[in-house]
């Protein structure tokens, strides 16, 4: 179904459009929530929040951006909100503002429980995810989408609204920075 056909379906039968969206995107959004939060229970809560937000704003999708971009943006925003509320709870109700880098750090307050990570890889995976949190926000997003969630460069370009060559250079910088961060970790904790 094209984006325009989807808009027409929303106008005609919103619930049917939502059902189609659920079939196509539930698995992908759950994967994104998991790679962002690394905790099954939190990812289950977040994926439901994302779909509630999608349902409530279905009428506002005008096709200016691609459907996948729109859905990805909602997922990212809801993910950030979720992390903010988590951190607020951890800080016992003290309200503090968070910039983009702090959102990444906030994940550390969540228990690592990613069902896709094998038991023998758990420690290494935690080190990897912590290093990903140290990347710039755009680099971390692109890295998660490419390496953890397995999207192609074309799909990442569509979701992040950038060209394939931009995605390639973003991932090149992300890989380079990630190796630097892992090297720092090695010098401080392993050697």
């Amino acid at each position: 179904m094209t984006d325009q056909e989807f808009i027409q379906l929303v106008r005609k039968d919103k619930d049917n459009a939502f059902a189609w969206l659920t079939d196509c995107y539930a698995q992908k959004i759950y994967g994104s929530c998991l790679s962002l939060l690394r905790n099954t229970a939190d990812a289950e809560d977040l994926v439901q929040e994302v779909f509630v937000a999608i349902y409530l704003s279905l009428d506002s999708f005008s096709g200016n951006s691609k459907l996948s971009t729109w859905i990805y943006a909602i997922t990212q925003n809801k993910g950030k909100e979720f992390l903010r509320s988590k951190t607020r709870l951890k800080r016992q109700g003290i309200h503090t503002s968070m910039d983009e880098k702090e959102v990444g750090k906030a994940v550390n307050t969540i228990n690592f429980n990613h069902p896709g990570v094998q038991l023998e890889d758990k420690e290494q995976a935690k080190i990897l995810f912590d290093a990903i949190d140290g990347l710039a926000e755009n680099q971390a997003r692109a890295y998660r989408l490419a390496k953890i969630e397995g999207y192609s460069y074309i799909e990442i370009g569509e979701m992040m609204e950038m060209s394939v060559s931009s995605v390639e250079s973003l991932l090149f910088r992300a890989n380079k920075r990630l190796r630097e961060l892992l090297s720092d970790y090695y010098k401080e904790n392993v050697r």
Partner: protein, 92 residues
């Protein structure tokens, strides 16, 4: 490849071994039920309550406009007195 580079490569390789787990069936069911859940929760709010809330908001806005317009007129009269006083002082 030295020991550090080998360790980094091992950590990076974990990403390719992470599986993509399926969404649990109970979560999928809850997502599919979102339209009916939202509709039923909207039906639960009586129309009277909605009108009462709307009237309260309208009253609040009207009060704000009233007090703001009064505050502006007080400000302008205070400014006029201030200007008259300072021009008198300058003349002296």
């Amino acid at each position: 490849m030295n020991e550090e580079q080998h360790w980094i490569t091992n950590i990076e390789a974990v990403a390719s071994r992470i599986e993509r787990p399926s969404i649990p069936a109970h979560v999928l069911e809850r997502i599919q039920a979102i339209p009916s859940t939202i509709r039923s929760s909207m039906d639960k709010v009586p129309a009277q309550t909605i009108w009462l809330a709307a009237a309260s908001i309208a009253a609040l806005i009207a009060m704000n406009i009233y007090f703001l317009s009064n505050a502006n007129s007080v400000d302008s009269s205070e400014n006029a007195i201030g200007e008259a006083y300072f021009s008198h002082v300058k003349q002296l």
